[in-house]
């Protein structure tokens, strides 16, 4: 016995309030549907709704636990990929290059002005992809993927880090002798943004390939 499209939709609607990401939810929907079908095939002749209710009472906690674990794994996977790129020879070379260029500019251009410009550019680099992602998702009504959305976690981390540096060390960084420190920090932030961008592209491509049936 196979569940109808309406039954599947019912399971999906129920789980969507608890599991918002399609890549996690679809697996749970299939698992729940298979379990219910197995019960029906074994002779449970009750209506779908009652079998579903009993199943959820028994297994809901385990299903939601899986959701948390999935997000944890996705974050871990992204962290490893970012770190791998961050310490790669090309990225380290670019970090040194950017740091040197910043140092050169700070020596020749007004330090305070260029420091503010550097912060604004970095913030734009971080905020723009988040706004574009949110807008595209809303406008085209795309499904949400956990692996893609976990990237936000790193963007938020970076914004908080920049905010922390800007506020807590504003006096320190405003002093001219600290141009080296400032240049190195910009180089490292550039490396992080670049690593995150490259990982994001890989993640989006990966989602497109794996979940072609949904898109």
């Amino acid at each position: 016995m196979t569940l109808t499209q309406d039954d599947i939709q019912f399971i999906d609607n129920y789980l969507s309030s608890k599991i918002e990401h399609i890549d996690i939810r679809m697996e749970m929907v299939d698992h729940v549907a298979e379990s219910i079908e197995a019960k029906m095939n074994k002779g449970d002749d009750r209506d779908f709704y009652y079998i579903f209710k009993d199943y959820m009472v028994e297994n809901k906690r385990k299903l939601l636990e899986n959701n948390k674990q999935f997000l944890k794994t996705a974050t871990q996977k992204l962290s490893n990929a970012i770190l791998k790129l961050f310490v790669s020879p090309l990225h380290l070379f670019l970090t040194i290059l950017i740091s040197y260029l910043c140092y050169y500019f700070f020596q020749n251009i007004d330090y305070s002005y260029s420091k503010n410009i550097a912060f604004i550019i970095t913030l734009i680099l971080i905020i723009t992809p988040a706004i574009v992602y949110g807008s595209v998702l809303k406008f085209y009504k795309y499904e949400r993927f956990s692996s893609a959305e976990r990237i936000n976690f790193f963007l938020i981390f970076l914004v908080q880090l920049l905010n922390f540096i800007n506020i807590s060390n504003s006096n320190l960084l405003d002093e001219k002798p600290h141009t080296i420190l400032m240049s190195v920090m910009i180089g490292l932030i550039f490396n992080f943004v670049l690593s995150l961008s490259r990982v994001s592209i890989t993640v989006f491509r990966d989602c497109k390939t794996k979940y072609q049936a949904i898109l």
Partner: protein, 110 residues
């Protein structure tokens, strides 16, 4: 999964072994296959199986394929090249472990 803690450490190896024998499998299918093979002795719960599958996927040992089956989407797992190599190594490790335990618990059979 069965209450026995002894089985918990072998979950990854069990999954890899099953996927090595089948082209591709989905979550529920794995739980049922294990149940049949162990005559109901080992029951893998969704709370243990899916995190393990996702971890293996994150480590690059498994690849994912999504297909529409019976009005719904189904996520199939299959071994990657690295996964196949890892399966051999994990099985050897497990065989060695069983041999050692056999020697300790029942020296006559070892």
């Amino acid at each position: 999964m069965s209450n026995s803690k002894l089985y918990k450490g072998s979950l990854t190896t069990i999954i890899l072994k099953l996927l090595n024998e089948h082209d591709k499998m989905y979550g529920y299918e794995i739980t049922q296959k294990v149940k049949v093979l162990t005559k109901g002795e080992l029951k893998i719960t969704e709370g243990a199986l899916y995190p393990a599958l996702h971890k293996l996927e994150a480590e690059g040992l498994l690849d994912v394929e999504v297909a529409k089956v019976d009005n719904r989407l189904r996520k199939y797992y299959k071994l990657t090249e690295t996964g196949t190599k890892e399966t051999v190594s994990k099985l050897e490790e497990l065989a060695e472990y069983i041999k050692t335990m056999q020697a300790l618990v029942n020296p006559k059979l070892a």
